[in-house]
Amino acid sequence: MSRGTAAYLGALAALAALTALAFAAGRFPVSIVDLLGAFGSKVFGFAYALPENAETVIFRVRGPRVLAALVVGAALAAAGTAYQGMFRNPLVSPDLLGVSTGAALGAVLGIFLSRDVWTIQVFAFAGGLAAVALVYWIGSSVPRHDPLLSLVLTGIVIGTLLGSGIALLKYLADPYNQLPAITYWLLGSLAAVNPADLGAVSLLALAGLLPMLLLRWRMNLLALPDDEARALGVNTTRLRAAVIAAATLMTAAAVAVSGIIGWIGLLVPHAARLLVGPDFGRLLPLAMLLGAAFLLAVDTLCRTVAPIEVPPGVLTAMLGTPFFLWLFAASRRGW
């Protein structure tokens, strides 16, 4: 069995196990028997009497949250993988062009204006798309020799500008009421995911993931210098635009629903690359599986260790870093 296949099977097995575990674990006590009965009754149609509220918990609270963790984790990992390849830099995260900062500004504005949760999420999604559109438009209009460098620089500049907007809103917000809400949103959380959120984020993430998966073989050529890729027959400008659009769609949708959860887009692509190498044909699907599994593991911990929620960004860093260091030490290849 080749290394690639072993890694895939391992990731799938881990994902299945973690999903089962995630459904079984939670602050609301649900026994394994009840869990199996609930699923069985949905799938096979027999009647099963569940304790009060258990059905709500399994299918409307825990279920959407588990599935959302899978979708968000896969989306962030895929976007990070795409950007690291496209910008030829393993230190790049999906927020390079400002999508997370733009989404954060949108959400903070929504909280500042005392809007309801759905509106806040829509603001966040729109903010993320608008930020990258702005960066892309400015970055492409500036006449430079290196299109990637101008994108990166514009991303940094616009990201800083948006960040200062967030800081200003935090300053002006009512410190008793709005500021805590803003702080919690920026720390990230999947606690408030409902079935409608899950539907929206899945649809949008799929709209981004599908084109990326279809183009993944061609994306390898973005690792070459521009001249070479074009000489090999690739329209690099259009391919880059397509990859950025797909990654932005996925990431904006993910951030709108979960707030800012860092490290997944940075660490998971590395781990996947250390396992199967840089060829996107194998790398992208594995990164998605690993990202989904990782965020699911983290989120399950976040919601079970204590009555209060632990911000997922804290755990992704604390758990991800030692795991990654081990993987890095154990592997012999380069990036």
Binding site: V61, R115, L172, P307, I308
Partner: protein, 344 residues
């Protein structure tokens, strides 16, 4: 009198008779503060302090930390509603400019809230920097009567301060007595949900749920001690509170339509309530004397058998005493009739 004695007397009279007479007040943090006997221009550093100063000597208040919205301003006399917005000086985030204090010829700065070391040092720094006396009062519910008395003395309105302090004291005693009648098994499990999704709450001991602690309520989140915290919906379902109190109108509107909350005991028995907020919120924030009304409101919702059902008279009296304007019948209707405030 010989010449030397005369010079000594002259020197003594010059040094012992300053332009204005001084008084010495010990504030809520134990600081001894020298301030003029006649104080005319007072800056309140945050909403709890604003309410105290406004209640005792409204004409001496220089401005509000945040301008009133039109629906809030309707509850105070127009001249008070129109006072300028000066920003906050302490608490979380400063928006006031210290130079503005000097420009306004402030006689006294008053702050009410935490008396922890951080705030004591802040008070001392502002006082040293500007030369303006700074009174730091204890903002806890129990300490409000003492704060009112201290502030009354400082502002030259000792009688009024004492009268308001007596009112608060007797209200607090009344509430405690009513709560004592309620047996532990009759106290419902209550959850306080903040934020647009209703998933932020106050842990045991946090100022956000000070009223619940005062009412001896069974806060479901009291498993942990601390301040604000975020919880998951699953946790709330596991706690299954019988009463839910909230301060977010978006959450209040959404919770009835959200299928995931329908199984919670409080939703089924329709015991989800939205705290009144005009002109100042009654529950949680701002953490000032306005919460005395919140005690009666929350007490009624939690222990209907022990608290008077009709709040109108008490609300009117409180507004008259502390906001200097009795609300009209229509205003009372609007205040108490807002959906979710009282049981249907």
């Amino acid at each position: 009198m010989n010449g030397r004695a005369y010079i000594l007397l002259l020197a003594a009279s010059v040094t012992c008779a300053p332009a204005s007479a001084q008084q010495r007040i010990v504030d809520g943090a134990g600081r001894a503060v020298e301030l003029p006997t006649r104080v005319e221009r007072v800056y309140a550093a945050g909403p709890p302090a604003s309410m105290l100063v406004f209640a005792i000597a409204p004409d001496k208040l220089l401005g509000w930390t945040r301008a009133f919205r039109p629906n809030e301003a309707a509850f105070v006399a127009p001249k008070y509603g129109a006072l300028p917005e000066l920003g906050r000086l302490t608490g979380r985030g400063n928006t006031a400019n210290v130079e503005v204090l000097l420009q306004l010829k402030t006689d006294l700065v008053v702050d009410a809230g935490s008396t922890a070391e951080t705030y004591v040092s802040l008070a001392n720094r502002v006082q040293q920097q500007t030369g303006i006396p700074y009174l730091l009062l204890d903002g806890r519910l129990d300490a409000i009567p003492a704060s009112l008395r201290t502030l009354g003395r400082a502002l030259g309105e000792a009688t009024r301060g004492a009268m308001l302090a007596d009112y608060v004291e007797s209200a607090l005693k009344d509430v405690k007595a009513r709560v004592a009648q309620v047996k532990p098994e009759d106290r419902p499990r209550v959850y306080y949900g903040r934020g647009p999704a209703g998933l932020q709450t106050g842990l045991a001991g946090s100022i956000n749920v000070e009223l619940l602690d005062y009412l001896g309520a069974r806060n479901v989140a009291a498993e942990g001690r601390g301040g604000l915290a975020q919880v998951s919906l699953e946790q709330v379902l596991a706690w299954d509170p019988q009463v839910i109190l909230t301060t977010d109108p978006n959450f209040y509107a959404a919770v009835w339509k959200d299928a995931r909350w329908q199984g919670v005991a409080a939703i089924r028995s329709k015991r989800v309530h939205l705290a009144p907020h005009l002109p100042f919120g009654w529950f949680d924030f701002p953490p000032g004397v306005n919460r005395v009304l919140g005690l009666y409101w929350a007490g009624l919702l939690l222990y209907p058998q022990a608290f008077p059902a009709d709040l109108r008279a008490r609300v009117a009296e409180f507004h008259r005493l502390f906001y200097h304007q009795a609300p009209t019948e229509a205003q009372l209707d609007a205040l108490l009739g807002e959906p979710g405030v009282l049981p249907r």
